[in-house]
């Protein structure tokens, strides 16, 4: 027993002496940026897109030799934490990144149910955080340190209402949404308000709901068809979109179905197939027919990971770009992490007309960006094609 014990200790000492870290005494200063992403849990595809976009960004920065602050290059390290698509995990991950890893800024979490509590932690610790995808106003409200990379639902609702009015000349609309999920519910309500403002009260002839994980929508769709609606608006996620569109067509619905930015996943067309061709939705960017830096990003991503990036990846990319711009324009790195975080926050608040791949961005007082929405058409090849741009 004694011999095996001394053997273990001996091995440990040797391993310790040989480990490269034992000799890395004077370490160079590294800027750490946290990524809080749902890598496991309900929406792993979102986490994957976030992670891939972040890794691509890191490659770029490394190729440039690091971030340049005040004429000096600093190395960058990403701290990617999994939040399991759970609120308390997102809070723990943020706390860990802020206090343990000492990140200078955090990008993520993506969904509102994690971004709202995690934003509270970031604000309490005075650490700048950008949530690329969260649309809940509470994420950034009264939180000077929390920003957002996407437009809000109070903007998107009217965009879609106006677009449908102009494009199809419809006056009666139906809405089908998930009552148990915060994003579809919020957007459905904003759409209803906007639509009734244009066409008068009662012009939303059917306002039908279901609950998360429902798979049969025939009763709601039958009601919608009987109500005489001319268009269906359904702000759902990719898995439900496919079911809703297919079932609507089976029930004889031939009129348009319009969606929102949650449609913009690579999976939508994979699951839905030709049923979805020719439909429109509002989004942050369109992959097919993109030009300039947007196209460069898409091509690179597709080549590397084998599929066209969805809007989460694009928004994460932009959020990291804004963080980079803020860090590079913050003036000087003091080495005191608290002071540096505040400097980054102040630089973020001053960002004007940032040219991102999802459009130009300027932050408002609340940390929400002013940016344009894009109307996307799913073309006959199943690609997301740019149709038109709507600006506030």
């Amino acid at each position: 027993m004694k011999r095996s014990l001394s053997l273990i200790i001996g091995c440990l000492v040797i391993a310790l002496a040989l480990s490269p870290n034992a000799w890395a005494w004077g370490k160079a200063k590294v800027i750490k940026i946290g990524i809080n992403a749902p890598i496991t849990g309900d929406i792993p595809k979102v986490g994957e897109g976030t992670k891939y976009a972040a890794q691509m960004w890191l490659e770029d920065v490394e190729a440039a030799g690091g971030l340049e602050i005040d004429g000096k290059k600093y190395k960058v390290e990403l701290v990617i934490e999994d939040n399991e698509a759970k609120a308390e995990s997102a809070v723990k991950a943020n706390t860990k990144m802020i206090t343990q890893d000492e990140v200078i800024a955090i990008v993520g979490p993506q969904s509102s149910k994690q971004a709202v509590p995690a934003g509270g932690v970031a604000n309490d610790w005075a650490t700048p955080m950008i949530t690329p995808w969260s649309t809940n106003p509470d994420s950034t409200k009264d939180r000077p340190y929390v920003f957002r990379g996407c437009f809000l639902d109070p903007f998107q609702g009217p965009v879609v209402a106006n677009f449908i009015t102009e494009e199809f000349g419809a006056t009666k609309a139906a809405v089908l949404y998930d009552v148990a999920s915060d994003y579809p519910k919020g957007l459905a309500e904003f759409f209803k308000i906007a639509w009734e403002k244009i066409h008068g009260p009662g012009s939303v002839v059917a306002f039908e709901s279901f609950t998360t994980k429902d798979a049969d929508f025939s009763s709601q769709l039958t009601k919608i068809i009987q109500s005489g609606a001319e268009v269906i608006f359904t702000p759902q996620y990719y898995n439900e979109v496919a079911l809703i569109v297919q079932q609507a067509h089976e029930l004889g619905w031939q009129k348009p179905i319009v969606g929102s930015d949650s449609w913009g996943s690579a999976e939508t067309v994979n699951l839905c197939g030709p049923d979805c061709y020719g439909l429109f939705f509002s989004s942050h960017y369109a992959a097919a027919g993109a030009t300039g830096s947007t196209k460069a990003f898409i091509d690179r991503y597709e080549k590397k990971y084998g599929y066209v990036p969805d809007d989460v990846a694009a928004l994460t990319w932009d959020s990291l770009g804004i963080v980079q711009k803020a860090i590079e324009s913050m003036g000087k790195l003091t080495g005191n992490i608290e002071k540096d975080r505040t400097a980054v926050r102040n630089a973020l608040a001053k960002v004007k007309d940032f040219e991102g791949i999802t459009g130009k961005m300027t932050f408002t007082e609340d940390g929400d960006p002013i940016k344009c929405a894009v109307i996307v058409k799913i073309n006959d090849k199943g690609e997301f094609e740019f149709y038109k741009s709507v600006c506030p």
Binding site: M1, S19, N21, K92, T95, T99, K113, P117, N136, A180
Partner: protein, 434 residues
């Protein structure tokens, strides 16, 4: 009742790993609880004052926050350093102080015990809090993990009352937790916070901290009230109805909150005041363990066991089975509600999606991993699953393979859980070992 392995009793010559463990156990068996706590205190103090220095010398970026697991899994090169830190800062001081001063602590523990066993328990608890506080003080991440772990202990114990001691299968714990969380949140938000939902604070916000226990109790009672709704119909019958009704109840609570715009609907309710400090959560957890432990050891607790083992026989022996089951169920629900109230104030945000099937699976896993019908087991189960979940986080997807695999292994080798059917005798625990 005893689940001890036979090899512990055998006295023959010992060889190999088993022998090593046996020698190890007998060598340290004379250390009293006081000695262990003192050893941990020494280790924690050691880490506090020299941790940074040692970590730097070993080439670690910072003091390993969860016993080095995260560092090891993130960067395999750092494994020896992290292990060395763990052994040097934790194992050696704990074992050394515990063993070397065992006789001193035994005498001391005996002296305190003679004054009054209750006093001894309180002293041990104070020491335990000191240890936890010093340990967690190193980083806010530890505080956060510790708070959620303590809440997990409360939840596991309260479910164990129903699933373990009473032998019914209840699935409504997330529902009770949600009721408690929302009730407590609404109480503190309406009375002590200026927020968007309920407007100006009714009372002065400075009073809030003192009324926080009231909020938790209200949360508990709301959950118990909800439990009454299940208990009345399901305990009229015998059999597995409770599982189905309670599962339905969980979904009812979730949809109810989703459709209640007053409390934010699916968007959730945020900006709860920061009242759930570590001493507060620790105090509630201790209270919960103490009350539940006394409950299950009382006549009523024994009646619960009798009902579980054979309801007709219990009835014949003058146990009022329906009342017993009702009380047990409501009691479990109360503590789940209290845990929910604490949870809401630690997270400072609640939304209905947090109280779904995933949460249920988590709590059930803790109960069955730790062991049915045992307070020890619940504590062990809650702590180990919480810490494992946190420590294996860098493994991402593989974490969800490893934890279920562990559960399956436990179910194969110890079908009732790690430490099942064992009585938790606090006095025995604090007694000197000689």
């Amino acid at each position: 009742m005893t689940n001890q392995q036979p090899e512990i009793q055998s006295n023959g010559p010992s060889k190999g790993v088993k022998g090593f463990f046996k020698a190890f156990r007998s060598y340290f068996s004379c250390v009293p609880m006081l000695g262990w706590l003192a050893g941990i205190l020494a280790a924690v103090l050691f880490e506090r004052f020299l941790g940074d220095l040692i970590a730097e010398a070993l080439g670690l970026p910072k003091v390993p926050v969860l016993f080095g697991c995260m560092i090891m899994l993130k960067d395999l090169h750092l494994m020896p350093s992290a292990l060395a830190f763990l052994i040097g800062v934790y194992f050696i001081p704990i074992l050394l102080v515990g063993r070397a001063l065992a006789s001193v602590f035994n005498a001391l523990a005996g002296m305190i015990y003679k004054i009054s066993p209750m006093f001894s328990v309180v002293l041990h608890l104070a020491l335990l809090y000191l240890v936890l506080h010093l340990w967690a003080d190193i980083s806010a991440y530890r505080v956060m993990t510790l708070k959620f772990t303590l809440v997990a202990i409360m939840l596991t114990l309260s479910l164990n009352v129903i699933n373990g001691y009473m032998g019914e299968f209840s699935c409504s714990h997330p529902g009770f937790m949600a009721l408690g969380a929302y009730a407590a949140s609404v109480f503190t938000l309406v009375l002590f916070t200026n927020d968007r939902f309920f407007g100006e604070a009714v009372l002065s916000p400075s009073l809030g901290v003192y009324f926080f226990p009231v909020a938790i109790i209200i949360g508990g009672f709301t959950a118990a009230l909800g439990a009454l709704v299940i208990a009345i119909p399901s305990f009229r019958t015998r059999g597995d109805y409770l599982a189905i009704i309670s599962l339905a109840f969980m979904f009812i609570v979730k949809s109810l909150i989703e459709n209640l715009e007053v409390v934010g609907g699916p968007r959730g309710l945020g900006s709860q005041p920061n009242y759930a400090s570590l001493p507060m959560v620790f105090g509630w957890t201790v209270l919960c363990i103490w009350v539940i432990n006394n409950f299950v050891r009382s006549t009523l607790g024994k009646a619960l066991n009798a009902v579980r083992d054979d309801e007709s026989a219990a009835d014949a022996m003058t146990v009022n089975t329906r009342r017993t089951k009702m009380v047990g169920f409501l009691f479990g629900a109360f503590w789940a509600g209290a845990a929910g109230g604490l949870f809401a104030h630690i997270l400072r945000y609640v939304n209905p999606a947090s109280f779904g099937l995933q949460r249920l699976a988590e709590i059930l896993a803790m109960v069955y991993f730790g062991g049915l019908n045992s307070v020890h087991g619940s504590i062990v189960g809650a702590v180990s699953i919480s810490l494992l979940g946190e420590a294996l986080r860098p493994l991402e997807l593989f974490k969800w393979i490893i934890i279920p695999l562990l559960l399956i292994l436990v179910m194969i080798f110890r079908p009732t859980g790690l430490i099942a059917f064992k009585e938790f005798d606090v006095k025995q625990l604090v007694r000197p070992k000689n």
